[in-house]
């Protein structure tokens, strides 16, 4: 498994480099719009940076509209982009449902659209760029199993605090993680779905898992932003030293936490890379090239073991450091 993972990244990275340095004459005098849910959120901002960066590379004029998580603004920006007769729209919708209306309006206006990260409930887009959630979760499962093996825990269960499972990315993450656990012979203690994504919610779920399952060995958070609540709950339960925490997605502080062993690992998406890929895809489409309807970007399973190795990649594609928009 490790060999496979190394092989995959050995392929992705050269591709990234090629794309980074390819000729930038494709989008001359063309105008693209990027509808971002909320540019204030680092993930989206990093993705916007990737889009800007690649648009600049390809000589596209890019307009980034941040809806600040408001559907009205998203629609208004869509209408505005349509009125401005942009050549293409890259959309990271506030949600998959809202994406449908945007796609509909763009379709009616004859403007091609590429979706980046959050999917749409319709398929009238050029291409959909998404993280490979299944692969990322599966790698995390293997990573946790390895850690437990290191700990000498031959048995025990893992509690899961999941994002809503109605979302495709949530279902893919759960399926990938559980498959890995099953292959490693580790049982699941149960799963709680987040609804309001609050600190309290994650804290309570963690306490319940601890209280109900004496053999609980780890907590897996499918989101990254409430990791502290989980840590606090484990600490409050007096299990800080007896439980492991592993997360999907990444926060800037995760690098230190992984390095410090506070966090077993994290499945890190690559928003910057996704933004770049979205622009590239639009460029290919505008030039009449055929593109894949769905394109998946690897999630980086970062642990203490590979942190140092992947740090440059993490810094660029995950955190967007050093590649800010100009």
């Amino acid at each position: 498994m490790k060999a496979i993972r190394a092989s995959r990244f050995s392929f992705v990275f050269p591709l990234f480099v090629v794309l980074l340095f390819v000729s930038k004459v494709h989008g001359a005098e063309k105008h693209l719009a990027y509808l971002v849910p909320d540019a204030r959120i680092p993930f989206w901002n990093i993705m916007a940076d990737g889009i800007r960066h690649e648009a600049a590379e390809l000589d596209y004029r890019i307009s980034v509209y941040s809806a600040e998580n408001q559907a009205k603004k998203e629609l208004e920006f869509t209408a505005r982009a349509i009125r401005e007769e942009v050549d293409g729209i890259i959309l990271s919708p506030t949600n998959s449902s809202a994406a449908v209306t945007v796609l509909k309006l763009a379709e009616q206006a004859g403007i091609p659209m590429v979706i980046s990260d959050i999917g749409a409930d319709s398929d009238n887009y050029v291409s959909y760029i998404q993280s490979n959630n299944y692969q990322g979760a599966y790698d995390l499962g293997e990573m946790l199993a390895l850690k437990m093996e290191d700990k000498g825990w031959s048995n025990g269960t893992v509690g899961i605090i999941a994002i809503p499972q109605k979302r495709d990315n949530g279902k893919a993450r759960t399926r990938g993680f559980l498959n890995a656990l099953e292959e490693q012979g580790i049982g699941s203690a149960g799963i709680f779905q987040q609804s309001d994504f609050s600190y309290r919610e994650t804290y309570d779920f963690t306490r319940k898992l601890i209280a109900r399952h004496a053999d609980l060995r780890a907590i897996w958070l499918q989101g990254s932003n409430r990791y502290q609540a989980a840590l606090d709950a484990m600490a409050d339960a007096g299990k800080a030293d007896q439980l492991l925490l592993i997360c999907f997605d990444a926060e800037p502080e995760f690098l230190d936490m992984i390095a410090g062993g506070e966090l077993v690992g994290a499945g890190m998406q690559q928003p910057f890379l996704m933004g770049e890929k979205a622009v590239d895809t639009m460029d290919l489409h505008l030039h009449g090239r055929k593109v894949k309807k769905v394109q998946q970007v690897d999630v980086l399973p970062v642990s203490g073991r590979n942190l140092d190795q992947w740090l440059p990649l993490i810094m660029r594609n995950v955190l967007g450091h050093g590649m800010e928009s100009q």
Partner: protein, 684 residues
């Protein structure tokens, strides 16, 4: 007889008829129900559609509002799509005013509409085809979408087409038809099952019971006792009918046998005639009467009769038939002659009666008989002749029964006897018995009748006035074919004249014409009879031979007439002088013989002899003169030793008279046997 009645297969089936009737009723009921359901369902569907529209409008306007306010267009569009599909609306169109502002139009219009293919497609306000289709909606309604603050966010319109209505009604119709079909089939099957189980089964049992029939079609077995009251009642009724039929048939059989025996016994020919078609049926006897067999007469029709009957009788028959057909005669009856196979005519009594008529009253079927009456006709002929004899014969004819009851007499009989016919009819033959005939006579008569069948003889027939007359009567027994005496016929001929003539002849032969005294013949008979009686009674008699003295002189002087007159006078005087039992006879001329029976010797007769001499010798007046003669008398006495016969006595008296004559006349002289050798027998 196990054969099925002809035409069974063509007869309608009770089960089929009942089932069809029930199916018809069921279909009618359910069709009416279907019409009612269709009408009510249509109203309900329309109301339900309206309700659905209103309900959807209410639900959509409430549910869309927050999404519309949040610009979650896709969400409310999903609501719309869900509601449209769920309620199967024809179309739902939403006008979003806020969204319209965003895109720079009055409304952002979205929605769902059913396509021609039946699925739903997104409504596009700029699509003429979709707008045209929207205009085909059957009904629609619109509700305003208001925000939390009451501001109008937009509108939602729900459209319904008549397609669901038609589909639902079609479904209703199909369901109803299926229901009708299923219920009809189910009920029919149930009906058939019930009919078969409770009705047909019973009928089949009845049918099975009465299936085995005799040659006349009458069931051999009674209907079994069935379970159900009504059918049991039917079975009992059938059994009662069967019993009645059997009894009736037994009676009919007896009657038929009687009729057949009667027909056979009476040698009666029978015929059936379809007056309308001329078809005719005869029995063998009918043909036999005319000397044929039925096969020889084939083909048989009314023409067979027409060809054989005498032309004159055919006309008569036709007239009688016509009168019978018209109702003037209760029966047809005609004596007709038919040509026998051998060529002669036979008489038949043709009788018949019209039994059926056609619907329009025309004669149809007639049945009758033929009776050979040839013998009867011959008998009638002979009887007619006999009747003529009976009526016109001069002899009285008397017909009695075998028991002697007088049945009839003819006119001659009434004339002979004075009895009126009604006086003797039904009277016993004893009425005509006569006292003159003794018991022996009657026994002799009856014996002759019994043994020989006939008796003939003289009979003293009594008259109504009590007198009798001599009749020559012949009684003949009339026997039937069995030889039994049925009648006696008595012929009575009056022989009174004959008897009188006989008396006259007897008188002429035995008496003297002049004096009326017995002559020699009668004297001889009486003398013989008297000698027999005297011998039997041991009595004496005397034979007196008397010859007149001087009669020749009277006869010569006074004439023969005077002599005859004198003889008459003397005869009368001698009858008066003698006893009643005495006989005086004239032998001829002036010779007389007197027979004196029952004497007591010579002395007993001397007084008589003296009175004779006195009577003869007394003067007799002849005309104006008077004459006187005397008599010489010879007497012989019987019995004598040895015995003598009458002729000898008479010769002895003659010889004694000669002695008296010789001794001087007017005296009597007894024959002396010693002188007999002197009295040779002289020829009379």
């Amino acid at each position: 007889m196990n054969s099925t009645v002809a035409g069974d297969n063509r007869a309608p089936s009770l089960i089929v008829r009942a089932t069809l009737a029930m199916i018809s009723v069921i279909l009618l009921v359910f069709l009416l129900h279907a019409v009612y359901v269709y009408t009510s369902q249509r109203a309900e569907i329309i109301d339900a559609t309206k309700d659905d529209i209103n309900e959807s409008l209410q639900r959509l306007s409430e549910n869309i509002a927050p999404f519309m306010a949040a610009y979650s267009v896709n969400e409310y569009e999903k609501l719309v799509a869900t509601e449209t599909a769920l309620k199967e609306h024809f179309a739902v169109v939403v006008k979003d005013r806020e969204m319209g502002e965003i895109i720079g139009e009055p409304y952002y219009v979205s929605g769902r509409i059913r396509s021609e293919e039946g699925g739903y497609v997104a409504y596009q306000k700029d699509s003429a085809a979709l707008n045209e289709r929207l205009g085909q909606a059957y009904m629609s309604d619109t509700a305003t979408i208001t925000g939390a603050d009451g501001e109008a966010l937009g509108q939602v319109s729900v459209y319904a087409s008549d397609a669901p209505l038609v589909a639902k009604l079609h479904k209703v119709i199909v369901e109803e038809l299926l229901t009708i079909l299923v219920l009809s089939v189910t009920l029919s099957l149930l009906l058939i099952a019930v009919l078969r189980r409770y009705f047909l089964h019973s009928l089949q049992r009845i049918d099975l019971a009465i299936r085995h029939r005799d040659e006349e079609g009458i069931p051999l077995q009674p209907v079994p006792d069935l379970q159900y009251r009504e059918i049991r009642g039917l079975g009992q009724t059938i059994n009662t009918m069967l019993e009645s039929i059997k009894e009736s048939r037994a009676k009919r059989k007896i009657e038929s046998l009687r009729l057949e025996n009667t027909i056979t016994g009476t040698h009666t020919g029978t015929w059936e005639w379809n007056v309308n078609t001329g078809e005719t049926v005869f029995n063998e006897r009918w043909a036999e009467i005319v000397g044929y067999s039925l096969a020889e007469l084939a083909p048989i029709s009314i023409e067979t009769w027409n060809a054989l009957v005498h032309p004159d009788d055919l006309k008569k028959s036709a007239r009688l038939l016509e009168r019978h057909f018209l109702g003037e005669l209760p029966y047809y009856e005609c004596e007709a002659r038919m040509r026998h196979k051998n060529g002669h005519w036979v008489w038949v009594m043709d009788r018949g009666c019209l039994m059926t008529r056609t619907d329009d009253g025309q004669p149809l079927m007639m049945y009758g008989t033929h009776q050979d009456i040839t013998e009867r006709k011959e008998a009638e002929k002979q009887l007619s002749m006999a009747a003529g004899v009976f009526r016109h014969a001069r002899e009285g004819i008397l017909i009695t029964s075998a028991k002697g009851i007088i049945l009839d007499v003819n006119a001659a009989f009434t004339q002979l006897t004075g009895y009126a016919r009604q006086d003797v009819i039904h009277q016993n033959y004893q009425l005509l018995s006569s006292d003159r005939h003794g018991e022996l006579f009657m026994k002799t008569m009856l014996k002759a009748l019994h043994e020989e069948g006939v008796w003939s003889g003289e009979y003293w027939m009594p008259r109504q006035d009590g007198a009798v007359f001599p009749a020559l009567m012949t009684i003949a027994a009339v026997r039937n074919r069995a030889g039994e005496v049925e009648h006696y016929v008595t012929l009575v001929a009056d022989i009174s004249n004959l008897k009188q003539n006989e008396d006259k002849l007897r008188l002429i032969a035995h008496y003297d014409n002049l004096t009326g005294l017995p002559n020699r013949i009668l004297l001889t008979e009486r003398l013989r009879h008297a000698t027999l009686v005297a011998r039997r009674r041991k009595e004496e008699l005397a034979v007196v031979f008397m010859d007149l003295d001087g009669f020749k002189e009277v006869n010569d002087t006074c004439g023969h007439a005077a002599g005859d007159q004198l003889l008459t006078i003397l005869a009368d005087r001698m009858k008066y002088a003698l006893r009643e039992c005495d006989t005086v006879a004239r032998l001829g001329g002036d010779e007389f013989v007197v027979l004196l029976p029952d004497l007591s010797g010579k002395d007993g007769c001397r007084q008589v002899l003296d009175r004779l001499l006195a009577a003869v010798s007394a003067p007799a007046c002849l005309g104006e003169g008077q004459v006187q003669v005397s008599a010489s008398i010879g007497v012989s006495i019987y019995p004598q030793q040895p015995d003598v016969d009458a002729d000898t006595l008479l010769r002895q008296a003659d010889m004694a008279m000669y002695q008296a004559k010789q001794n001087g006349k007017n005296q009597y002289y007894f024959f002396q046997p010693v002188s007999a050798p002197m009295m040779p027998v002289l020829p009379g």
